[in-house]
């Protein structure tokens, strides 16, 4: 499977698929610009939502405004990167199972999971991520906090980890399509959860809830944990062990499900 192929060959396949994805995007320009407006509206409204609360309450669970702004920026970076690189690809698994296209992909001389991970790109996601970087930098300035290189390195590492967590969780959900056929509701549930990414961890009443929303439903991964690396890197860095673990579990689940797969297509 994945480990057997040469790295150069896989790199070539990924690059080629990204190039084809870029060309496919150009067919949907109207949707692209509407999506950009949607992303900007989402960002603006998240900021308005929290700033309205701060205008009336002053703080949320002891969190000052710049820290929440940092969460908003971080959530947008993670969401943008996932949308740009993986969202459209991963979704193909469940549709492939339903339509029977998976049968064809399985005959390709390349790892199927890799094929379903890279290829289509969504440029809109990169813009969302860029805006997220801008908000995070502004939040740091507002907080008069200058992170050291060590903080930034941890932050970037945990950002990558968060995208990996999202990808692994999405793959896990898509894998359930082998058994459930229709997984739209689970996908909706995942997206719904992640829209609460910018809620500060201080709102959770106990550590049990925090653990649930970090490990079982990884909402806290989508902003709080990476952003925590900017403030307290020593404490946050241990979480970096979680994404590879989840990716391994997700991979295992995919392979087990594949072993039991009986074609559904006609």
């Amino acid at each position: 499977m994945l480990s057997r192929g040469s790295t150069a060959r896989y790199f070539l396949i990924v690059t080629k698929r990204l190039w084809l994805g870029w060309r496919a995007w150009r067919s949907y320009r109207a949707s692209f610009w509407l999506g950009i407006i949607g992303d900007l509206a989402w960002m603006l409204f998240t900021i308005i939502f929290f700033s309205s609360i701060y205008a009336h309450a002053g703080n949320i669970g002891g969190w000052p405004w710049p820290d929440v702004l940092m969460l908003i920026g971080t959530a947008h970076i993670i969401n943008g990167l996932y949308t740009a690189l993986f969202e459209a690809n991963v979704k193909q698994l469940s549709t492939g199972i339903k339509s029977g296209n998976l049968d064809r992909w399985l005959t390709y001389p390349v790892d199927t999971q890799l094929l379903l991970t890279f290829g289509r790109i969504n440029l809109r996601g990169f813009l969302t991520a860029l805006l997220g970087v801008g908000i995070t930098l502004y939040a740091l300035k507002l907080a008069a906090f200058e992170p050291r290189l060590w903080h930034i390195m941890n932050y970037v590492l945990l950002l990558v980890g968060a995208v990996a967590v999202w990808l692994a969780a999405a793959f896990f959900i898509e894998t359930l399509a082998f058994f459930l056929v229709n997984i739209e509701i689970l996908r909706a549930l995942q997206n719904e959860f992640y829209s609460y990414a910018a809620y500060p961890s201080a709102i959770y009443p106990s550590w049990v809830w925090k653990l649930v929303f970090t490990v079982l439903i990884p909402v806290l991964w989508m902003a709080n944990i990476p952003a925590g690396a900017l403030r307290d890197p020593e404490k946050a860095i241990w979480w970096i062990l979680f994404p590879p673990l989840l990716a391994m579990l997700s991979r295992k689940a995919f392979l087990v499900a594949l072993r039991h797969y009986q074609s559904a297509g006609g």
């Binding site: 949907y28 409204f45 308005i48 689970l186 709102i203 959770y204």
Partner: protein
């Protein structure tokens, strides 16, 4: 009468289709319950050490969100993917041969599938309200029978408007190649401008002014104020019916212009 009978059968078939996927049906409780739990956590933290925020107590805020949660899924305008797929794939040409006008068919399908969801939401929200009462966040005084009756009336009118707005958004696919962008735009704009994300009176003045000219506030914020008695029922119903007429005209116009542009290729 015949059209009504066909529309009723279509709605009934949609109900059966929606309950066919039992796992999805069961999971839809979680889609409602967990985000609501996070909202309760958030406002609990906001009210920590305070008895009032912007004129609301914690229990009033929770009642607001209970009702907003109930309303949201029925009134928020969304792209009806059946409709957008029919237009994009050319399947619409088959519907054009059928006796029931397509807009009425699409309306009936949505109504049928949402009727199932209404049962799910009513059970989840009702159960959630009981749990919140048990946890001490709500008391019997937070609910009134007269308020609930007023709410049911205004909810039905808001539901009708929401369905028509969804139909209008879906017919926009005649003019854009892909509905995902438009869908995302609507889904992000609506929660804030309708008051389902936060009560409109907590927003900055300039947004409140924008909301004044849009139909969205009549779908969530005003119906909740009707429940609490802050807004009279009759003018709210009149405003909703006014928007229903305007939106129905837009749906008709989009359909008439869209169907002229529509092309289906292949067999």
């Amino acid at each position: 009468m015949r059209l009504l009978a066909i529309a009723r059968s279509t709605a009934s078939l949609s109900w059966r289709e929606a309950t066919a996927y039992r796992f999805n049906f069961a999971m839809s409780f979680l889609v409602i319950a967990i985000p609501f739990l996070l909202q309760v956590f958030l406002w609990r933290a906001v009210f920590s050490g305070r008895s009032e925020v912007a004129g609301y107590s914690l229990s009033q805020m929770i009642v607001y969100y209970v009702l907003a949660l109930f309303l949201f899924d029925f009134v928020h305008p969304t792209i009806l993917y059946d409709v957008s797929e029919d237009i994009k794939s050319g399947e619409l040409s088959v519907h054009l041969l059928r006796p029931l006008p397509y807009p009425i068919w699409a309306f009936a399908v949505r109504l049928g599938s949402q009727a199932v969801y209404l049962a799910v939401v009513a059970v989840t929200v009702g159960g959630g309200a009981l749990l919140l009462g048990w946890a001490g966040y709500l008391s019997a005084g937070d609910f009134s029978l007269a308020g609930l009756l007023r709410f049911v009336v205004v909810f039905l009118a808001a539901w009708l408007l929401g369905l028509l707005l969804s139909l209008a958004a879906s017919f926009a696919v005649f003019f854009t190649e892909d509905a995902a962008g438009l869908s995302k735009l609507v889904s992000f704009v609506f929660p804030l401008l309708s008051g389902s994300l936060i009560p409109l009176d907590m927003l900055p003045g300039w947004i409140k002014n924008i909301c004044y000219y849009l139909p969205f506030r009549w779908l969530v914020y005003e119906p909740i104020r009707v429940y609490t008695g802050q807004q009279p029922l009759a003018p709210t119903i009149l405003a909703l019916l006014g928007w229903v007429i305007v939106t129905a005209a837009i749906v008709w116009l989009l359909w008439r212009v869209g169907i002229v542009r529509f092309t289906a290729v292949g067999g």
